[in-house]
């Protein structure tokens, strides 16, 4: 129905250019520093990981928040996206390296990254379709069980695939396979090192826009109807299976892109990064932020990515003499997950609806405003 069709502002492309330019300048500043002040590699890493978390949290919002389904296997989609895009980069470098002879470097590297990310999206989406189609016909709890199983199966399979490193992990993704007697080509790896913040920021912004536009469209409204009363949603003519499957596939594809970003950022993958805990972490982000709120997902991703790092720094609060006397203080970071849990329990008691409930920052909601000036889900 056209009542909730999102309205595309006449000058939105201007804003788009400004955002891209802004990210580019930020990236330059973060990586190379301005006036001698740069961001330490550590902080840049945390910020970049926050961006990847945002992609994860915002795309999961479409399924667990908007449609009210319950996936606890999104680490699996992240893993298939990560390994697929890493494999394309690792094994499919030859044509790009050949292109480097005739074209300037950055367009070739950019193309190479985007091809790999696109493959990550496609594989994630197909996996989402294969998992979603049979289960989304059923009631919500089946989805939870099946996605959980899917995530674990993917991890175990990856542990046993030799070409992508198996349990040892997938190393030198950007450099490509080792060729005896030739030193590896570092150019793509260097390019990634210097630009990943930019790409992550761009994809995170794109994800927020895509999911926001979907959530605030008539499609998003049909997801909200399914969430609130699935039988009634079917009774008013919503193709519930199709709507849920679409949401699931889009979410899984975006999660696959997040996996691809993660692979290219670390230039290394290990199946142990994609355990059940990772799935729970993403769910936690959006529950903490407020299920169904994109603003909440963004904040939740930030909090849950920064918090463990901040807790890691706890030991620095104490001088070595103190930690020597009381060794448990040194092991405080090991209790991160416990602190996490406590914080979460506390928050859920204080604010059961999450930080944002279903509300959005007005400036963000404005990006998704409809033609009639009505807001969508909210």
């Amino acid at each position: 129905m056209n009542i909730w069709k999102p309205h595309l502002g006449g000058r939105s492309w201007l804003g788009g250019i400004a955002v891209v330019a802004g990210f580019f300048l930020l990236n330059e500043a973060f990586v190379h520093g301005v006036f001698g002040y740069g961001l330490s590699a550590y902080y840049l890493r945390v910020i970049t990981l926050v961006g990847i978390s945002m992609v994860l949290a915002v795309s999961l919002t479409l399924v667990n928040g908007c449609a009210g389904q319950f996936s606890i296997g999104h680490a699996g989609f992240m893993a298939v996206g990560a390994y697929a895009s890493a494999a394309v980069t690792h094994f499919g470098g030859a044509p790009f390296i050949a292109l480097l002879e005739i074209l300037p470097a950055w367009p070739v590297h950019t193309l190479r990254l985007w091809v790999s990310l696109a493959v990550g999206a496609a594989v994630g989406g197909v996996a989402g379709w294969l998992v979603g189609l049979p289960t989304l016909r059923l009631r919500g709890d089946y989805l939870a069980i099946v996605t959980l199983g899917f995530g674990e199966i993917i991890r175990v399979v990856l542990l046993n695939i030799e070409p992508t490193g198996g349990a040892l992990g997938f190393t030198n993704i950007a450099q490509g396979p080792e060729v005896p007697g030739r030193s590896p080509d570092q150019r793509f790896a260097l390019f990634l090192e210097e630009t990943m913040f930019f790409w992550v920021a761009l994809v995170a912004t794109g994800t927020i826009l895509v999911v926001g536009r979907l959530a605030y469209s008539s499609f998003g409204r049909s997801l909200a109807a399914i969430r609130e009363n699935e039988i009634a949603a079917a009774a008013i003519g919503i193709d519930t299976t199709r709507a849920k499957t679409t949401a699931f596939v889009v979410s899984a594809a975006l999660t696959g892109v997040a996996g691809g970003l993660y692979a290219h950022y670390d230039n290394y993958l290990n199946p142990s990064s994609f355990t059940f805990l990772r799935s729970v972490e993403i769910v936690t982000m959006i529950v903490l932020g407020g299920l169904g709120s994109l603003s909440g997902a963004i904040v939740g991703a930030g909090v849950l990515t920064i918090l463990p790092e901040a807790l890691r720094d706890l030991t620095r609060l104490f001088p070595p003499s103190v930690t020597a006397a009381a060794p448990f203080l040194a092991s405080l970071p090991d209790y991160r997950m416990v602190l996490y849990a406590l914080l979460l329990v506390g928050l859920m008691i204080a604010r059961p609806q999450g930080l944002y409930g279903r509300r959005e920052w007005p400036w963000l909601a404005r990006l998704f405003l409809t033609r009639d000036g009505e807001k969508g889900v909210g």
Binding site: M1, N2, I3, S218, R221, S222, A224, A225, E228, N229, I231, A232, A233, A234, A235, I236, G237, I238, D239, T240, T241, R358
Partner: protein
């Protein structure tokens, strides 16, 4: 002759259910139910708790798939078709327990009822009609539907069903849990809709009122139709009076 007005005996059938057998796992809930609703009729399906009334309606709109039997709507066999397709053909269901979207406003509920209706002008016109039919709804368009009274929620549920411009309206116990006065209001609205040409299949435990407003009726007992006929005749029938009218 019922309050519903003229009799529509000779009108063509709009809905025919043939020998519906529906199972939940090993339990067979319907053992071969056949019924017909003709164009312009109000037909009531009465029966005790667990008789299979809701199951019958769900099967008609495709929420359940019959093991045997057929559902024919407007001359088309829609057995086993997905619900959204059957709804698209002109069947609307106001589900049992109202089934509104509680966190949305009344207006949003009604807008969703017009989900398959892309025409904005038509939407405004339909909305106006629902508001005329239920002035209480009009006053509460901006209110969260979950905060409405039971009767108001039922009005929203019916209004939402009407927004899809159905030719057949299925109602599952619209009087459930409502005060007699509100029930009257709702049945008045249904009679008005029927006079305007809407065909209605009604499931009710409030047999007295429902039969008084219907042309014909069916009595369902543990998954089997045990009686059918003219609504007045059913209301006079000794067995019906004893079992469903408490007389």
């Amino acid at each position: 002759m019922s309050e519903a007005g003229h009799r529509v005996v000779d009108a063509p059938s709009l809905l025919t259910a043939e020998n519906l057998v529906v199972t939940y796992g090993a339990i067979e809930a319907l053992h071969g139910v056949s019924l017909t609703v003709r164009k312009g009729e109000v037909v009531t399906l009465i029966g005790a708790n667990g008789a299979g009334k809701t199951t019958t309606l769900k099967t008609i709109v495709g929420l359940l798939r019959p093991k045997y039997g057929r559902v024919i709507f407007d001359g088309v066999d829609v057995t086993g078709r997905p619900t959204h397709e059957i709804v698209g053909r002109g069947v609307a269901l106001a589900p049992e327990g109202r089934g509104i979207f509680p966190d949305m406003t009344v207006l949003e509920n009604l807008e969703l009822g017009a989900y398959r209706q892309p025409d904005r002008i038509q939407f405004r016109r339909d909305l106006e009609q629902v508001c005329t039919l239920f002035p209480r709804v009009k006053e509460r368009l901006k209110q969260r539907a979950g905060t409405l009274s039971g009767g108001e929620q039922q009005m929203v549920a019916i209004g939402r069903a009407l927004m899809s411009r159905p030719s057949l309206l299925l109602l599952d116990e619209p009087s459930l849990g409502l005060a007699p006065l509100v029930t009257q209001t709702i049945f008045d609205a249904l009679s008005e809709l029927n006079r305007a040409g809407l065909t209605i299949l009604l499931v009710e435990q409030n047999a007295h009122l429902a039969l008084a407003r219907s042309h014909r009726g069916y009595v369902l007992e543990t998954g089997r139709l045990v009686m059918s006929g003219d609504a007045n005749a059913l209301a006079q029938d000794a067995r019906v009076r004893e079992a469903y009218l408490g007389q």
